[in-house]
């Protein structure tokens, strides 16, 4: 008993610096933001939240955030899982391939990635239009970032590219823990590759997938630089999400109180999502 108590004490002491840092770096800004969001002209009020709810673009921003998040997360899961399965197979040059495919998008700074995608999407000499035209899939260059619907798709594609490596990396390390015997047994039973994936891989990876999806949802909602660099939220608000909108109100319009209300709203939304998701899918 005594030694266990001592161990706990040591453990606490070891994480204490982190706790202090966490408090300073997270709790302080969150509570200050909360305080700002209720402040207006020297008093505490709900005006900032009233302005948020009555903003005519509010529904559109929510809709955009939903599309952006669902589109990014679903495809980051599919691409991430696909790449992980591929890299789990043995083939020559696998290590180099892994290093390249995983680190290039992920390690590239957000702003650099955003600018690169902007140029690749260009209808005057962008490489994407060029390839599509050479493949005869389109007969004239598409204004990827200049059209309301295309712009929504374009930023999601860029984000899938930017974000899939982290999913792939997590799934790949999870795949390594699946014992080969299980696959061999399934093979002997005559299970096809798809059945093996469905009945062996997926159930075993279940908990990891659920956690990863939750994390990617939160990251995607809060991910801001890519959209900011590529479209700034345009055209005509088509790619404006909760965070690009909040950023503009705070830092472009210097309306810090209303901006704080938007940030707090986003925070509460994510908190609610995390609680519901954890309770229903991960099972507390």
């Amino acid at each position: 008993m005594h030694s266990k108590h001592g161990e706990e004490k040591l453990a606490f002491m070891l994480i204490a610096p982190y706790l202090v840092f966490f408090a300073l770096a997270t709790i302080y800004p969150v509570s200050y933001n909360l305080f700002l969001s209720f402040r207006r002209g020297g008093t505490l009020t709900l005006t900032n939240y009233a302005e948020l709810v009555s903003d005519p673009t509010f529904p559109l921003i929510l809709y955009n955030t939903l599309i952006w998040t669902v589109g990014s997360v679903v495809f980051q899961f599919i691409v991430g899982m696909g790449v992980a399965l591929l890299l789990n197979e043995k083939f020559p040059g696998r290590r180099l391939f892994t290093a390249l495919i995983i680190t290039v998008p992920w390690a590239m700074p957000d702003v650099v990635a955003g600018i690169s995608w902007r140029w690749m999407y260009s209808d005057v000499y962008g490489v994407i239009n060029d390839i599509l035209m050479k493949l005869r899939l389109i007969s004239y260059p598409l204004p990827w970032l200049g059209d309301v619907n295309l712009a929504r798709i374009a930023v999601i594609i860029a984000n899938i590219w930017k974000g899939f490596p982290i999913s792939a990396l997590i799934y790949l390390s999870a795949l390594k823990t699946v014992p080969d015997e299980l696959y061999e047994a399934a093979k002997i039973d005559g299970a096809s590759a798809w059945v093996r994936f469905k009945n062996v891989t997926l159930p075993l990876l279940g908990p990891i997938i659920k956690t990863t999806v939750m994390l990617t949802v939160i990251w995607t909602v809060n991910y801001f630089p890519l959209i900011y660099v590529m479209t700034g939220g345009g055209p005509a608000n088509a790619t404006d999400t909760l965070v690009t909108y909040a950023y503009r109100i705070s830092f472009k319009f210097t309306n810090f109180n209303v901006g704080a209300a938007w940030a707090t709203f986003t925070f509460l939304l994510m908190l609610a999502f995390a609680i519901v998701y954890t309770k229903t899918l991960i099972g507390g």
Binding site: P143, W144, G146, G233, P235, A236, F253
Partner: protein, 426 residues
Amino acid sequence: MRKIFLKVVACSLLVVLLLLAVPSINAQRPKILVYIGGHGGPGYEEWWRQLVTEFEQKYGIDVEYQIIGFEVYWDKLVAAFEAGTPPDVALADLGGWVPAFADKGWLEPLEKYLATWEGAKQIWPNLWEAVTYKGVRYGVPWYCDCRVLLYHKELFKKAGLDPNKPPRTWDELLECAKKLTDPKKGIYGYGVSGALSEITTLGYMIFLYGAGGRLLTPDYKKAAFNSPEGLEALKFYTELYTKYHVSPPGTPSYTEDDYRVMMAHGKIAMAIGGPWSFPLIEMENPAIKGKYATAAHPYKVHPATVYGGWAWVIAKASKHKDAAWKWIAFMDSYDVWKRWALKWKGPMPARIDVVFDVPFFLEDPLWKPIITMFPHAVARPPIPQWPQVSHVIQLMVQNVLTGKMTPEQALSWAAKEINKILAGGS
């Protein structure tokens, strides 16, 4: 033994005291922190160091300075002011920054310094509007520029147009742009700025004022562009893309910055630009040197343009305001400006005397239209709500470009939004 020990202790104490005293003697020399936004680049680091050293020796004031990239400058400045730790002196963009900061109570009024400053009467008179808030001046214009038409002479020749006769009116602009456009080769006649950016607001303003309209009422209390002139300008500006297709398909995602790059590679024949474009377009493609030119932007009723530039401001929270003012007077002095202009051939000084004493500005064919247009240049309304107002104008243009609204609908929607913003106080 003990005596020696005491002596050693006494001596070391003395040394420590002396060391402590040195900084306190030094502290009597004021030290100012200067934020320089967006004026780095090759060679400039050394140039700023020379100027700072010269200033320090001349006035006995220490200067700590930071050169900050334009992309992050606004955020950094706002964060510093908001946190209560602003620089003593900073550069602020003439595009509405000064009134926005003054409204927050962040800036020191400069009238008492300006009253006795020799340079005050040398500043281009139209520049003062951009640094005035509620009748009080909070900034000193430092350099300025205005937007003009940038065009590709070789593309003009290839299209059978005279490269020395750029379009002067809207009709000529459209006619030239149609002749220059060749979508099969990916060449477009005129680049309409349509992205979510201040540049789009400026593009619309140049057409609006060129049609004889104005953005806001003279007291800045209401929208004034919801007029026949304003509609005509919005229609013509957007139809260049939606109807005549002389601007590329990606127009709602482009600004003049993108068009400058395209022009460097012979893909855009005409776009709005300014003196900052010259080094950038030549950096993009050195072969374009001498193959592009500038002219007054085409107009409907009379030539018009919008100016930009930078002003020096002093933080209200500064403890060394007099020292900060000396820095401004030094940087905006005839002597420093003349050396600057002769060495760097730009930007355009906010001082008229320097512009006319340095022969370069009126002799250089690229600079001449800028200097001659400058007296016609208007300010962006100096109101703290400018970023919101500008954002609505951008959305108005985007809504028409993307077909979500007709010009009539977009114009009345934008006027209503802007009137709401202007009535909202703060």
